[in-house]
Symmetry: C3
């Protein structure tokens, strides 16, 4: 347990102290960062969403990070750090906290790693046990390659990038600087491309060799067991700042604009181009060869089947219900087109009746 004082937090991260004196902050111990409800008297907590402000009064937290609008309420309870964006402050707090409680071990190249003599390894690189670095690969300064990683021939890992244990980077693929790639990620497997031989050829699939690679910008994060396939002819591209969650599939020749975030279990099919600053919720799917504008937001489990040219939130999911209700609605849905025709018939019948009456 690494305790700090509240004063040390403010010295490192800024913010205005309310509800306590500066000298009190120098002796107020913070032992953990945590949510309001489960806070102990040594917890530094935060309130980013005003809808949780009722939790404030009952929280035992040592101090709460709040926005100016809540400064008075929070400081009436006790110490508060007031900052324009409490959630962003909290994010930086977690980074500062992590650097203190789990500092990086000194970089070293584990003797069991298998590194081809032609690979170029920068200054201050950490290479984990049993990692494999193939011929002509390049590892930038300060990069950290986890245990069991496999870096293919001629692949490039940018400076300061961290690969967790067991990441696979295919030959010729490039990862930018300060990226974080989690365990089980596969970058640069073949895209899924085949030409049918047709009935005459027995309906076999002839492989289209995937001649492109993958290019990933700086400060990209990719979650566990996600895949980014190499391009068929050109490269698959993730621009800087893209954030990808676990078990996401990025097919060949997809292009994802900067600072777009994609949640878990989403699939982006081949050659689709997604703009910058988009958010794609979990288990969404985007079919191939589409163009999605900047600032588009897709709801969970939605299938995007056409290009989207306007920013906004897009959704498409069958609302769940208890099974009996769903079954009744689903059965009706299977004949929805007929229902519409029945409504049309009714409208016509009523119109005719009206006309008859008027003409009679």
């Amino acid at each position: 347990m690494a305790a700090v004082t509240l004063a040390e937090v403010i010295a490192a991260l800024g913010g205005d102290l309310h509800g306590a004196s500066e000298s009190a902050a120098k002796t107020l111990l913070i032992e953990r960062v945590g949510p309001l409800q489960a806070a102990t008297p040594t917890t530094l907590s935060f309130l980013a969403n005003p809808k949780y402000q009722s939790q404030l009064s009952s929280s035992l937290a040592a101090c709460v990070i709040v926005a100016p609008a809540l400064a008075e309420l929070a400081s009436s309870r006790g110490p508060a750090i007031v900052t324009p964006d409490p959630y962003l402050y909290f994010a930086r707090l977690t980074q500062w906290w992590a650097s203190r409680v789990r500092p990086l071990s000194p970089a070293r190249i584990h003797p069991s790693a298998v590194i081809d003599p032609s690979a170029q390894v920068g200054q201050g690189v950490d290479i984990g046990a049993l990692a494999v670095i193939e011929a002509h690969a390049r590892i930038g300064d300060g990069a950290r390659i986890g245990a069991h990683c496999a870096i293919g021939q001629g692949a490039e890992i940018g400076a300061g990038t961290r690969l967790s244990a067991n990441v696979t980077v295919g030959f010729g693929c490039q990862i930018g600087e300060r990226c974080i790639i989690h365990s089980g990620v596969v970058i640069g497997a073949d895209g899924f491309g085949f030409a049918s031989t047709g009935a005459a050829g027995g309906g076999r699939w002839e492989k289209i060799e995937q001649l492109g690679a993958v290019r990933i910008g700086d400060e990209v994060e990719i979650g566990a067991n996600s895949c980014v396939d190499r391009g068929a002819l050109d490269d698959t591209v993730l621009e800087e700042g893209v954030k990808i969650d676990n078990l996401v599939q990025i097919a060949h020749n997809v292009h994802i604009g900067r600072h777009t975030a994609i949640a878990g279990c989403t699939a982006i099919a081949g050659s689709t181009r997604i703009g910058a600053h988009c958010t794609i919720a979990g288990a969404a799917n985007i079919v191939g060869h589409l163009t999605i504008a900047d600032h588009v937001h897709v709801s969970a489990a939605t299938l995007i089947s056409r290009s989207i040219h306007k920013p906004g939130l897009y959704s498409g999911v069958f609302p769940f219900d208890d099974n009996a209700s769903w079954e009744k609605n689903a059965a009706t849905l299977r004949n929805l087109h007929a229902l519409r025709q029945r409504v049309q018939s009714l409208e016509k019948a009523l119109e005719q009746a009206q006309e008859k009456k008027n003409s009679s």
Copy 2:
């Protein structure tokens, strides 16, 4: 091939012998366990679902495991084991059979494994080739760590737990006793948490370091390539007896109650709390920050978008159809709200017509 006699099966697993004498059971050879339809005269089969009872008479099986209600029918055909729950009997039979035909190899620590000197390895532990056990990790008695596994710093693997080849357990994560973790599983990757810097900050995402870990109870099974992320502040928790299939995503701070089973390709988003004894069918999705009661059952491919407080079966999926029919219904669905308004207009028109008639 390891043949046993029917008498040996009954001695090991119980059940009442019908349709054959005890002395006959001592000479009736069983060479495999298998389904009714493909059974050979040395197959031990079972009938758990009465709807398949028509397969009984034509089956060549040496013996059939049945419930009391089918004892007469089954024994008229030949030898039968009668037991209250044939499917449960069958499960235990497969366990007994597996222990005979593929006994565990004697535990040994493969010389190629890389084990930090500070790691604590219990009695009778098996560690596969090229596994990596990092500093201060603890491996309980009788645990089996497959080839290429990576056990992070300070992680704990409970007694009798088995990890298949190529499992990644992140630093500080805990797995209970007698668990089974399949290949490609990643436990303790970072949860997907970012704070936006907002337009002023260029719309970048600031990482929220994930300060929690993962705690997994006893007798949990996790299928191939599934992911359980570490918590943001608190831990992600799987209680005892939870069973998770392949390619399932469990996000940060999810809590899954005991004996809940989750089928393949399902995603559970962050901070959702699922009760005990639930079953979640394949490819279902549950959004974040929800509470799901005990004994809730979710149908395949259903998106759960609100908390569920009552046990029961919940569904929500567009019924599939031939493409032309689906297209017609989907097109109508896109204007469903307008259709409802047309029905409302018709109702009003009819009502007015009625009123007019009554008043005339």
Copy 3:
């Protein structure tokens, strides 16, 4: 950069040269294969889909591969290769190109690989760094096993099959000849099978040991991080020529017919039997114990919940819309059954009104 002449391409792959003389083809340099739009004067391009033929005239490509119907148009622009199926020609071109620009390294067994002395390794086999080959496994002639692969006890890898880095093949599983298995694939993890102990047994799940294995035919390709589970009693089977994309789940005892192709993030539940020459689009799901006929095509994100006995295209997905429109339609959908009853009431009311009028 490996330049070839157009004449060399035609000599290797056939096709009729139009729009240029044979002697011109001997000096026309091709430096890359690429799409029409981004083509440079040394790019060999192709036009498979007539809807892109407007791109033809403006393309800078050195030569374009076209079907006979477009021979005149293409050759009016410049050199063209005319062939009955340009896409198939293009596929073979990528294969020929890949064999030139990235020839396989000479086969060698990396000294760091851990190979059990009882394993049988064929002629000309390549085994990557830190691969593990367990007891009695058999590796066919010319197979290539990537770095960090784990081949379980008694597993068989057919001649000429290539495993990328970090593939896991479970004990006793068989992979045919000339297959391609990408990184992170897990073949032969346990199927998801449990019997409930019922309320009396505390609602625990009793494991059904999975006694089957996986059998994969020749020329099968499986994408990154996909899973094929071992069968419960019999084997899970993929017939020859099956192509599977990334992050696909194939549950226990599934049987997939030859030359069926399955796109990314699809899940096939247990014991389902899929015919030959089917295509399953991305993120589709097929529930368990179904039979799908040959030549069935399933649209993206569709849940197949019943057997399909007729070839054709099947779909079922909620059409996406801007969120406000979707919400209105979804709200109406939740009462669709009631809407249908209202239409029924209207029909009755109108009928009665009509009858009354007729009888009056």
